[in-house]
Symmetry: C2
């Protein structure tokens, strides 16, 4: 794929914090939608308390009962503090994150130059969102946009559901997938009378997290789950795999852009081709990634070595893939559907 | 509760192995149903290759592609073998179980004296069942019995669904809950137009596995998940909790017999009272277990210190609770609904 020369398209400095006492750490992993002539991103905006001193670790946590944000602080040299890494730490065994994320709208008429809203689109409000709302995907079905997002709390990572028709007002529909689940992407049309979604449950038994596929009569309730695709030992997607973009209908099948990571956490994008009538059938899969972190904004930053593809637009056969780079900025790359398909072996 | 003097009611010696080259290790954790005047148990029957020598570890695994059972063997002193315990071990990091379970029917006219069928009712047949089928629950809705069971494989523990009307023929309905889930128990009637189930997802983030509640339009697809109840630090159910019996409708609410365990794996039974109209509301919960392992068949055996309640009959206000004892036998205890309710504080 060809990276846009304007990359990164959105950076933390482009985003106003949701509160004056916080600063923005990242604007990344966007859900992507087309509304009229516009390209819309629902960015994951991660924030941390401003002015955090070097000797303190801070964790912002949404208190759903009191309806306000708490900031918990520990001294870095507290002997009860363990497993400190950029994204989180533990205190007396309990997990804390160093930032909290919400979803923020960014709009563009050319898909390159984005205007970021000054206030959140979806902010944590439930106990299941105490650690934040992250990494949404957006699927349009008729006039409604269905948003699946990671609801993160100490009770687990599960999939929250919201809808909008205009990206001005949003309706929440609770938890569609129990813990532990992430990277849920719905297909843009029904298949054999069912709604279909790619999912990514996690279990301590499995050697490495795999993609599953689920069906639904109404997008709220899901079942008839099947294992779809596992990581491949020794390859670029050996550590974990998950759906990235909404599947694109093509003459050869559903073209799914997915992400894979190594156990060392290098995240790349690759392709999967699924049968149009029976998407549990895999027709082809990228031997090599179509996008691997090489540019400075992809290899350096909050968490370097990460290309996390999270949505795409398709216009006149051209795919623009949006992705989070290094867990802090948003970038994009382009290719035609034909170019992408040509990288896959004949199905 | 009063234990039946005939306990244990079913023992491994009462069960014919499903194959001549295997022996039965356990007949426990039964799903329970009433069909006419009969009490039916769908026992979890665990089997292991017969004549396994002391220096070998054997793991029976269902190969769904070839449609047959494999037995994998490793020398106990193999340096690649780790984490050996009665139920399983690892080889080069990969998990193996020492037994494989299927479901076996046992019938009784008095609920005490059971005749065990000579052949399995449900035997592993899918890749998701490679390590076995375990710990089912049975809920009757109209004339159909819905069976939720643990499908265990290296891809995770998930919930398989089957139905029967006569316990002679069974129909499978695939996976109703993705990994990692167990202890799924459906309510015996719709509430507010929805089918409802208690579930037990597992996630590495949560300190201890909790019970959730889910809703469904059709028993096949589930959503609108909510966290229901967490383990309580310092109490008998501090390590994990899960639904045991089908909720019993009473004048005070839904009476749910659940199981709780300590981090040291002592499993007990306790009570939960849920609002009749809104079962996400907890009205009362046992401070002390109603059943704790004290008898020799509960404290000694394959995995001692375990009372795993898994189903109950209710006749004329009398509850007979069936449970797996020490992961190898089946026992029962009785009390009236009134006696059980009287142990709970006023709601």
């Amino acid at each position: 794929m060809r990276r846009l020369p304007q990359n990164p398209l959105v950076q933390p400095a482009d985003v106003k914090p949701s509160r004056s006492d916080h600063r923005v750490l990242g604007a990344f992993n966007p859900g992507v939608a087309q509304l009229g002539h516009e390209t819309l991103l629902l960015l994951r905006v991660s924030e941390t308390p401003a002015g955090a001193e070097d000797e303190w670790l801070s964790s912002p946590i949404w208190d759903a009962e009191r309806g306000e944000l708490d900031v918990v602080r520990f001294r870095r040299d507290d002997p009860d503090v363990t497993e400190v890494e950029p994204r989180g730490f533990r205190h007396r065994g309990l997990l804390y994150l160093t930032s909290i994320s919400h979803l923020r709208l960014a709009r563009s008429y050319d898909g390159v130059d984005f205007t970021v809203a000054n206030t959140p689109a979806l902010f944590p409000s439930e106990a299941t969102e105490a650690f934040g709302i992250e990494d949404c995907r957006i699927t349009r079905l008729n006039e409604t946009y269905w948003i699946t997002y990671k609801a993160v709390s100490r009770d687990g990572i599960c999939i929250g559901l919201a809808t909008t028709r205009d990206f001005v007002t949003y309706e929440r529909h609770g938890i569609a997938f129990e813990p532990h689940n992430l990277d849920v992407v719905m297909f843009p049309e029904q298949i054999g009378g069912d709604h279909v979604a790619l999912t990514r449950p996690e279990t301590w038994i499995a050697e490495a997290p795999a993609m599953w596929i689920a069906r639904s009569p109404d997008l709220l309730h899901w079942g008839r789950h099947e294992l779809l695709m596992k990581p491949r030992p020794g390859k670029w997607d050996s550590g974990r795999v998950g759906a990235s973009a909404v599947p694109i209908p093509t003459g050869r099948g559903w073209l799914e852009i997915y992400h894979g990571a190594t156990p060392e956490h290098e995240y790349c994008a690759g392709l999967l081709l699924l049968d149009r009538e029976d998407p549990t059938k895999i027709l082809a899969r990228s031997e090599q990634p179509i996008l691997r972190p090489t540019e400075p904004y992809e290899t350096e930053g909050f968490f370097g070595g990460v290309i996390f593809a999270s949505g795409a637009t398709v216009r006149d056969g051209k795919v623009t893939l949006y992705y989070g780079a290094s867990d802090d900025t948003t970038a994009a790359a382009e290719a035609t559907v034909e170019e992408l398909l040509s990288t896959l072996p004949a199905g």
